[in-house]
């Protein structure tokens, strides 16, 4: 479902003397449907960079990143938009929303964009918000004023409201208490059971052990010092 082949990445900082910082070289990864792969490696190894390249958020310097038949490394913006809408879900560490939009609408939005009737989308959003323990009193409020853990859970709800065939999870259990962590882990296991291909970054070793089938050490893709 997700295939990464010989991908490299370096950042060139034009305003800081044109320094070029190589981050990844020859990165490769394969995730089958129903499989969860953890990206591991020390901080700065390029875990988030690799994940962002799969999402199309960072440009790849070469190679192929094929998700559901679309090569993200070469695709037009239009194809990536369509891919993200229907196929590739992403739970980032930060919630980015239009201010003053109610939480319920924020969570229902991915479904509405896909063409699900607004009422049905809201019903599914309600069920998910209840499951991840966001108190009903908060649903009509904008998540911008929520606590870190609540924002994190709203973000997770947005990522799981549609049954994406491929999912990218960036630290989904960070800043969650034990109870909510269990709920999120069960959501991940259910997504696997329905056949989603998942790439995740988990600093929590116990969570990683419970949901991930294998680990890929991103440190192996660190470019040799030039």
């Amino acid at each position: 479902m997700i295939e990464v082949e010989n991908v490299g990445k370096s950042f060139t900082l034009h305003n800081q003397g044109g320094v070029s910082i190589p981050v990844l070289a020859g990165a490769a990864l394969r995730v089958a449907p129903g499989e969860c792969v953890a990206l591991v490696g020390p901080s700065g190894a390029g875990k988030s960079t690799l994940m962002r390249m799969i999402h199309g958020n960072y440009l790849a310097d070469g190679g192929h990143i094929v998700v559901g038949g679309v090569d993200v490394a070469l695709a037009d913006p239009r194809q990536i938009i369509a891919l993200r809408r229907a196929v590739l879900g992403h739970v980032s560490q930060f919630l980015r929303v239009v201010p003053r939009v109610p939480t319920l609408e924020v969570v229902a939005e991915p479904l509405v964009t896909l063409g699900v009737a607004p009422e049905e989308a809201r019903a599914r959003a309600r069920a998910l918000l209840a499951r991840i323990n966001i108190p009903e009193a908060l649903w009509p409020l904008s998540p911008t004023t929520f606590s870190g853990g609540e924002q994190q859970r709203v973000n997770i709800a947005r990522g799981f409201v549609h049954d994406y065939p491929a999912l990218l999870l960036d630290e989904p259990t960070a800043s969650l208490d034990a109870g909510n962590r269990e709920v999120v882990l069960s959501l991940i296991l259910e997504a696997k059971a329905r056949g989603a291909a998942i790439v995740g970054i988990f600093h929590d070793a116990d969570a990683r052990g419970r949901v991930c089938d294998r680990e890929v050490d991103v440190g192996h893709f660190t470019p040799a010092a030039a």
Partner: protein, 256 residues
């Protein structure tokens, strides 16, 4: 699917000065494209060229008309362009006073665009105007007031209602949230996003506000000195800018 708008090598110079040069892009139905850059970078010149308000020196602007398929709007006669401007296109100006008729009531401002495409039944026109005013959160009791008595944010919402009442397919916006206070901006952004999605609109939004494009635009084009220096998926251009100027632009945003 046919692209809604195809822009090829559009160039406009003011004497020896470059307005915009060799701009190419393709806009698909339902897509929102942002154009950012510092003032004087050619954003507004480009928007005027695309919307037929300014004749470029060279290039083609192909619009997928309902009746005749893709046609070069620059080769069209004035009557054809005017018809497009009244039906399929909408232009939201930065200053609502440029897009509204200040001496006519709010309802009249919305109704005028309907009349321009042939509506004649007073009751129908008034009902549709009332419906649109409600959609942009202007209450029915303000319908017969002139826009001059409205606040800046209300005027901007009225301008949007006036533009969208005829069900256009392409909306040009020049700094739609500029000059509004932030709480009104947020509400306007949410409203625009909702309308774009419900009506399947395509839009070209010129702005200098990177936060606005991140929330509204699918794609982004960065201009400097009349040239397009970078283009791509909005979050990719903002999070992984490739060109030195874009890197400078992104790193210059103040964090709240």
């Amino acid at each position: 699917m046919t692209p809604l708008l195809e822009v090829r090598a559009v160039t406009k110079t003011y004497g020896a000065r470059i307005g915009c040069r060799d701009v190419d892009f393709t806009l698909w139905p339902g897509e929102v494209m942002g154009v950012v850059g510092e003032s004087g970078s050619g954003k507004s010149t480009l928007l005027s060229c695309l919307s037929g308000q300014l004749a470029p020196d060279a290039g083609e602007v192909l619009f997928d008309t309902r009746a005749g398929g893709p046609r070069d709007i620059l080769a069209m006669d004035e009557a054809g362009r005017r018809m497009l401007a009244r039906t399929d296109w909408a232009f939201v100006h930065q200053n609502p006073r440029d897009g509204l008729r200040m001496g006519v009531s709010a309802g009249g401002n919305v109704g005028e665009r309907l009349m321009a495409v042939g509506a004649r039944h007073y009751g129908d026109i008034r009902a549709r105007a009332a419906d649109w005013l409600a959609r942009v959160d202007i209450t029915a009791d303000r319908m017969d007031d002139r826009p001059g008595t409205f606040s800046g944010g209300m005027q901007q919402r009225l301008q949007i209602a006036r533009n969208l009442v005829t069900g256009p397919r392409l909306v040009f916006m020049d700094e739609p949230t500029g000059g509004l206070d932030v709480s009104v901006q947020a509400r306007l952004l949410d409203m625009l996003r909702g309308l774009v999605r419900q009506m399947g609109l395509s839009a070209v939004i010129v702005t200098h506000d990177l936060a606005v494009v991140r929330l509204l635009a699918d794609r982004l084009m960065v201009m400097k000195g009349g040239h397009v220096v970078e283009a791509g998926l909005t979050d990719q251009v903002l999070d992984d800018p490739q060109h030195g100027y874009t890197q400078l632009l992104v790193s210059s945003v103040l964090q709240v």
